[in-house]
Amino acid sequence: MSDAAAWTSPSMRSLRRIAAMVVRYSLLLKNSWTRIFELAYWPTIQMVLWGFISVFFRQNSSWVAQAGGVLIAGVLLWDVMFRGQLGVSVSFMEEMWSRNLGHLFTSPLRPIELAVALMTMSLIRTLIGIVPAALLAIPLYQYSIFTMGLPLIAFFVNLLVMGWALGLMLSGLILRFGQSAESLAWLAVFLLAPVSAIYYPLSILPPWLQAVGWALPSAHVFEGMRAVLFEQSFRLDHLAWAAGLNLVYMAFGVAAFLFAVRVARRRGLLLQMGE
């Protein structure tokens, strides 16, 4: 197949549409330094705050003293999930705010391609948000999250994918219920924080809440993170559970988003959405 023919194949055309949407969201970031600053601002503030709390606990808590970076790692990894979700939902809301959905959904862009573009942009936004905070922790607290090595990649990917799944579900809800549901994009993920075992083991929760926690990929990731930090062991069972659950969450997230688009087409919402 010639280069020209390859470029016009259906899969290449699909990739090109996804790339166009990623460029569209990147241009939005590039044109506004305040948005880039804001992306890195909250993870950094959180890391600084929890870094000093860690310093204090290291001297006064035998549990934290065993693994000094456990709180900072928890903060940074939790932000991966939060930024992952927000990266999908906020990019989608940008389309609603600018009343652009009508143009998008009458172009050859398919809803699933839009979802892939939103996820790609979420990865970029998450990296912009997290990497500066992770780097700043090294000189401030002599803690590098990168010392976790390969398990860090597994944790990052699983939390990001869970964030994507939540972001797609929330985008579907926002498409269905409009501006009244927008606050969910900022709040919903915090509902999961207490049962995600970010800063403490799941075992301290009441049994019925532990059951809820084990149903979340995030709880397996944070239990796995503590195993690496405290026991220097990489728990494949937690990784397998997190990955398996994420498959289910992603399937549900994509299905919810596509269903919401179909409902919007049935109810005529795509022309009405806007500021």
Partner: protein, 254 residues
């Protein structure tokens, strides 16, 4: 039945209901290839709803839509690269410049040479003065020209325009009409527009579909309708129909 083979749009029994409200009530029409047709009617007549269904933005409750030879409900992705639209009800991202927006849509439509196509449109639609301005900072007239540029990016075989000259001053509106006439002549494109502007319809369109309360209550060439209703212009015909004085004339014609 899929309508005449030379029709770029063929609609049969098209219906849209929202609960008990019937927005479009079993309409039928064809738009021949290369023709310009207009949907005319007052507010709430069903024009925008009809255009939304033709674009695939809205699913019909019942009926059949064939666009450029394809079933628009089931196979719209085969057709969407060959059609385009503009509407005052949608916007381009405000914080991207005009050039950035056109480039993004150029890639979404899979143009082989986006830069060249954008350059041509910038020249033809006289966008030079604001091509690098953020789209949210344009005047109404500039926005309309940019929306038209976006609608023409893929040199569509079918162009759907919802109120293409709404909120434009007479000079700019006249310029847009002239451009549409030229585009249609040079490409052989089919145009369907919804408008409240009767002079615009008289100038641009070969066929008028008069809508009221979700139904097509009359149709024909502008001069035929004017003759049939015994009026001086299309605006008077529109008022007759909107005020239901045209029913007798319509029945007589049938």
């Amino acid at each position: 039945m899929t309508g005449a083979p030379s029709s770029d749009i063929s609609v049969q029994g098209l219906t849209k209901r929202y609960g008990d409200v019937v927005a479009v009530d079993g309409i039928d029409f064809d738009v021949p290839r290369g023709a310009c047709s207009a949907l005319l009617g007052g507010n709430g007549a069903g024009k925008t709803t009809t255009i939304s269904m033709l674009l695939g933005l809205l699913l019909p409750t019942a009926g059949r839509i064939t666009v450029l030879g394809q079933d628009m409900v089931r196979r719209r992705y085969r057709v969407l690269p060959r059609m385009n639209f503009s509407s005052p009800y949608v916007d381009l991202p405000h914080r991207l410049t005009v050039r950035e927006n056109l480039a993004v849509y150029g890639h979404l439509y899979g143009l082989p040479d986006v830069r060249s196509r954008v350059q041509v449109l910038v020249r033809d639609l006289q966008l030079e003065g604001f091509i690098d301005r953020e789209s949210g900072k344009l005047s109404a007239g500039q926005k309309t020209r940019v929306a038209l540029a976006k609608a023409l990016l893929n040199t569509p075989a079918l162009l759907l325009l919802d109120e293409p000259t709404a909120s434009l001053d007479p000079d700019t509106a006249d310029w847009v009409r002239g451009y549409l006439e030229t585009y249609r002549r040079s490409t052989g494109a089919t145009i369907l527009l919804a408008s409240h502007n009767m002079a615009e319809v008289e100038r641009l369109c070969d066929q008028v579909l008069m809508m009221r309360a979700g139904r097509i209550v009359d149709r024909g060439a502008p001069e035929q309708l004017i003759r049939r209703y015994g009026r001086q212009n299309l605006e008077e015909v529109f008022l007759d129909i909107a005020r239901r004085r045209g029913i007798a004339a319509q029945e007589a014609a049938q």
